[in-house]
């Protein structure tokens, strides 16, 4: 009896110490993060409902939804949304397809695999401005570029990529940067595929193609969802590559939402108008995020 009572007595304070409220310890970071987010958001919301043009200080006062009305009537908005969609969609497809292929390829044993893997990953470590400059001046340049030289070798007229295929060029550059990311995630996923499962499939009569579609690809399902989710978040805000290469042009051919906001705010100095665009971007990003997180988490739970 006494030992039992003793145990209960000692057990209680122990339980209390474990139940200590740890939330206050989180507050500093929560507060910083909250301010970090809420201050710019509040300012953007505020700017988006006032008249605020840096070139015209006389233009002031509450604008109501005027900025938004102008924005929605502006064909550039719809073009930029479409361009954003094209850019994000194409890059996602290209990176997932090539990432998967490289992952399957570089999972096989061969001589010099380590070096080959490193080379595939390397573009990820080059900063976006630099890689865009490399592509612009050394590869796609109609006079000095490698592609132009290759074309001239076979007697073709060199292509002026950024003039004739501006969106394609941007897509190629951005894909080149993001294939390594997809490759890395998918390679680790492939490495976690149970060898015995593959052997069982071989005994069941699966050739390399069946193996890929029936065993490897389903196994990569989750990893691909993760790649898509993370890449989408970053790709929605692609800016540096466009800044360095096409500056959103020619015309609005490569103007995505990020570039539109930049050009309105910092090239035309219409802060109010740009802020309205910013709010649209935030809303869009959140819709995409909610949608993606839902599908991905469902996928992860199933897997």
């Amino acid at each position: 009896m006494t030992t039992l009572a003793n145990q209960q007595m000692t057990a209680k304070p122990a339980k209390n110490t474990r139940e200590i409220d740890t939330r206050p310890l989180l507050w500093p970071s929560v507060i910083v993060l909250f301010l970090w987010m809420i201050v710019p958001l509040a300012m953007t919301l505020y700017f988006s409902v006032i008249r605020y043009n840096l070139l015209n200080p006389m233009l002031t006062g509450f604008a109501g939804l005027e900025n938004y009305t102008f924005l929605f009537e502006d064909p550039a908005l719809w073009t930029s949304l479409w361009n954003t969609l094209v850019l994000v969609g194409s890059v996602l497809i290209i990176t997932v397809v090539f990432g998967t292929l490289f992952a399957v390829l570089y999972n096989a044993e061969f001589h010099g695999r380590g070096v080959a893997r490193l080379l595939v990953i390397a573009p990820f470590f080059v900063m976006p401005t630099v890689s865009a400059l490399v592509w612009k001046n050394m590869l796609m340049h109609p006079v000095n570029g490698l592609f132009a030289w290759l074309q001239s070798l076979v007697g073709m007229e060199p292509t002026d990529w950024f003039t004739n295929y501006p969106m394609l060029s941007v897509i190629v550059i951005v894909s080149w940067q993001w294939v390594p990311f997809a490759f890395l995630i998918l390679l680790t996923a492939i490495q976690s595929l149970d060898q015995e499962q593959k052997e069982a499939a071989r005994i069941d009569g699966a050739g390399p193609v069946d193996m890929f579609f029936h065993i490897v690809l389903p196994h990569l399902n989750r990893a691909i969802s993760v790649v898509i989710m993370i890449e989408t978040i970053f790709l929605l805000t692609i800016f540096a590559e466009i800044y360095v290469t096409t500056s959103g042009g020619p015309g609005t051919a490569t103007t995505n939402l990020a570039w539109l906001i930049y050009s309105v705010g910092l090239l035309q100095f219409d802060v109010g108008y740009a802020s309205a665009g910013g709010v649209i971007a935030v809303v869009l990003a959140n819709i995409v995020a909610i949608f993606l997180v839902r599908t991905v988490s469902r996928n992860l739970q199933q897997g």
């Binding site: 149970d194 052997e199 069982a200 499939a201 029936h214 196994h219 897997g303």
Partner: protein
């Protein structure tokens, strides 16, 4: 008529030779068990038969055809893995039907075969579940079902029961043995568990270090082990080995001295032994008697393990050796008691210094019995 013949099969990984020349004939409808300590090459040998591992040297014949260069799917085998290796994204139905789907069989026929296998294995209520939602035993059944639907010439099992708990293991053991008699299929089964080997096999193949130590029926290995390794590996608890000397050599029997002064005469062929030669006496714990016997050894009890029906005692005998004895569960023996353990000559095994056993003068009457007679149809 599906037999599996291995002729001087060798396997090397780089410079390391893992299988060092195996000759083996597994007859039609036989249940062959490869048994041996971990790392002895059982799995490697099985995987070579399956075609998952290339054969470095030698010939492998299945059903009279040389299959060295055939892919696993073309060899007419099916394999059940230790980790089950089910496809996690497919339902039980699709797991079992996968090979048929790849073979482009008509849908209705796949459905029929899968349902048939599910009925045999009592998996019908689980057909639409994913492997994740199954227990270990159920997964094992699905893995077996996946093998059955292919209607293979040879079933291969690699330690299929190791991941199951003890009770389930016994149950699955019985089911696999039943399956063998129902399907009349040739089966090769790998295990490190000698109890599984003893209970399931028609033919046990004892492997060590990439070579076959002995091939035979379970009771043949138990009563007529070819050498000290097999004698120690088969049977539980393991056989006692006592280092001693030859006291007398007669026609068809050898007398050896026992620690503490006694002696025992074993009915074995002498193979040119001389009086005074060093020899190892082997006797199984279950053959040591609490009283009586042809010869006696005095000892002091160190440990007593009571299992209920039987009691194991570990006794220290002269020369700082320990003996394990299995005695009656009702024996009141206590630690530190003095015991006199009796041996009868007929149950003694003698091993010469090179580890080989002296052949018993008479074959045990059950040594040639077939397990097939112990499972009802």
């Amino acid at each position: 008529m599906v037999d599996v013949v291995l002729q001087n099969i060798k396997k090397a990984f780089g410079d390391v030779e893992v299988i060092k020349g195996v000759d083996l004939h597994i007859e039609d409808r036989e249940f062959a068990v490869f048994v041996g300590p971990s790392g002895c090459g059982k799995s490697t040998l099985l995987r070579m038969i399956a075609g998952l591992e290339s054969i470095s040297d030698g010939d492998l014949m299945i059903d009279g055809q040389r299959v060295n260069d055939l892919s696993p799917a073309e060899r007419g085998i099916a394999m059940v893995f230790q980790t089950y290796a089910l496809y996690p994204h497919m339902t039980v139905r699709d797991n079992m039907g996968f090979s048929l789907r790849l073979a482009k069989l008509p849908k209705a026929e796949i459905e029929r075969k899968v349902n048939e296998a599910a009925r045999i294995l009592k998996l019908e209520p689980l057909l639409d579940r994913k492997p994740k939602a199954l227990s270990g035993g159920q997964r094992q059944r699905v893995a077996i079902g996946r093998a059955i639907v292919r209607n293979p010439k040879v079933f291969l099992f690699d330690e299929p029961l190791s991941n199951l708990d003890a009770a389930l293991r016994v149950q699955m053991r019985i089911e696999i043995a039943r399956m063998h008699s129902d399907f009349d299929a040739t089966m090769i089964y790998v295990t490190h568990d000698q109890v599984e080997a003893m209970t399931m096999a028609n033919k046990i193949v004892v492997l060590q270090g990439g070579v076959i130590e002995q091939v035979g029926s379970p009771l043949e290995l138990y009563h007529h082990p070819r050498n000290r390794f097999v004698a120690g590996f088969i049977g539980s608890p393991t056989m006692n080995f006592i280092d001693t000397q030859v006291q007398n050599v007669q026609a068809e029997s050898v007398t050896v001295s026992l620690p503490g002064g006694g002696s025992v005469t074993a009915p074995v062929k002498d193979r040119g032994l001389k009086v005074g030669d060093k020899i190892t006496l082997g006797v199984r714990p279950e053959h040591l008697l609490e009283s009586g016997g042809d010869g006696q050894i005095q000892g002091k009890v160190l440990v007593v393990e009571r299992l209920g029906g039987a009691t194991y005692i570990y006794a220290q005998i002269e020369g700082n050796q320990t003996l394990t004895a299995e005695i009656d569960g009702n024996s009141p023996v206590k630690v530190n008691d003095a015991v006199t353990l009796g041996l009868s000559g007929a149950t003694c095994h003698l091993f010469t210094t090179d580890g080989l056993a002296l052949e018993q003068a008479a074959r045990h009457p059950l040594a040639a019995i077939d397990r097939g007679h112990s499972v009802a149809h």
